[in-house]
Subunit: 191 residues, 2 copies
């Protein structure tokens, strides 16, 4: 597996998810509409990108690096997810959706100039979210996804889901977090 | 300046802000209430911590490292801020508040074990938001803060504002971003 592929899979690592019904596309019941729904839904779990996930609240932030891979990441949660994290409630209730947004880390020349001027000799280096790499979702539906710990997983790049082989890696990879309902992310304290 | 102090100031670097009125404390008009209001407001700009800022939406994420300092960061915006970022509108309208949340970066042993097992030889290292370091705010009020580009700045650690010397550094440090209305953060693309 190349690191490029690794980068994609690692969304599964940080978090994954689903949306139960393809609301955006299933409203169109023509054959064309159905094909489109299929192409926009992740394999195995049938998840499409939840509308408005970019507006969700922050669970935590993370950094991943190794070889050519350098990413800045954040995990966001829908209202049900945030409530469960804050209350420390396990397992997560049905309806929980966790989104993991992954960006390629970009060194910020403009920030570094300011740092070098304001804090000479400190050797400070700033990096920021660069190009979007992928987004992943974990959707809790204890009945629908009973075979995978109650979670559906999905991985998208440029709005398109990864293939079945990719999605087969999600649940096995999350096994080590079984005692936290298969969720790696922990809620970051409020500064 | 020690790196510890540097870490604090750098919130000013990444972002800063204010809330115009100490709503939480000024409702109590006793002498005690007034003293409390004063101790919770940042010097110079009179800003207190905006209620519910942890629920605001994500502008971007960032990483800062140098010497002993290693931080993971996110910038969040209130509704006015997010709208302005998305529309690319400059200057930011009055009422904009940007929050910069800074955490000490913590290597994640539990994540690294999963990575080593799932991606042997890739040398992947994961870090996550550890302890809270500080939070900073930039509040736009073009009249009230006319002397500092229309922005009020504030820096808090453990709920307490930094001193006046710290807050004097905010506006000068933001000068290099004058052509972006003194805001360093850029809106991260939606993956």
């Amino acid at each position: 597996m190349t690191l490029r592929a690794t980068g994609r899979v690692l969304g599964a690592f940080s978090v994954c998810a689903t949306i139960a019904v393809c609301t955006l596309y299933v409203t169109k019941s023509t054959a064309q509409g159905e094909r489109q729904a299929e192409s926009n839904a992740a394999p195995i779990y049938g998840i499409t990108i939840p509308a408005g996930y970019r507006d969700w609240r922050v669970i935590s932030v993370a950094h991943l690096a190794g070889g050519n891979l350098k990413q800045l990441r954040t995990q966001l949660g829908n209202d049900i997810a945030i409530k469960a994290f804050r209350e420390g409630k396990l397992p997560f209730p049905d309806g929980t959706i966790i989104a993991a947004l992954h960006w390629n880390e970009a060194s910020s020349d403009e920030n570094n100039k300011v740092l070098a001027s304001g804090f000479p000799g400190a050797g400070l280096q700033s990096s920021v979210a660069g190009s979007a790499e992928n987004v992943q979702f974990m959707v809790k539906d204890s009945k629908k996804y009973a075979a995978s710990g109650g979670w559906g997983f999905a991985d998208f790049k440029n709005g398109k889901p990864g293939d079945e082989a990719l999605h087969k890696t999600c649940f096995p990879c999350h096994q080590p977090a079984k005692d936290r309902d298969f969720v790696f992310a922990r809620y970051a304290p409020t500064p």
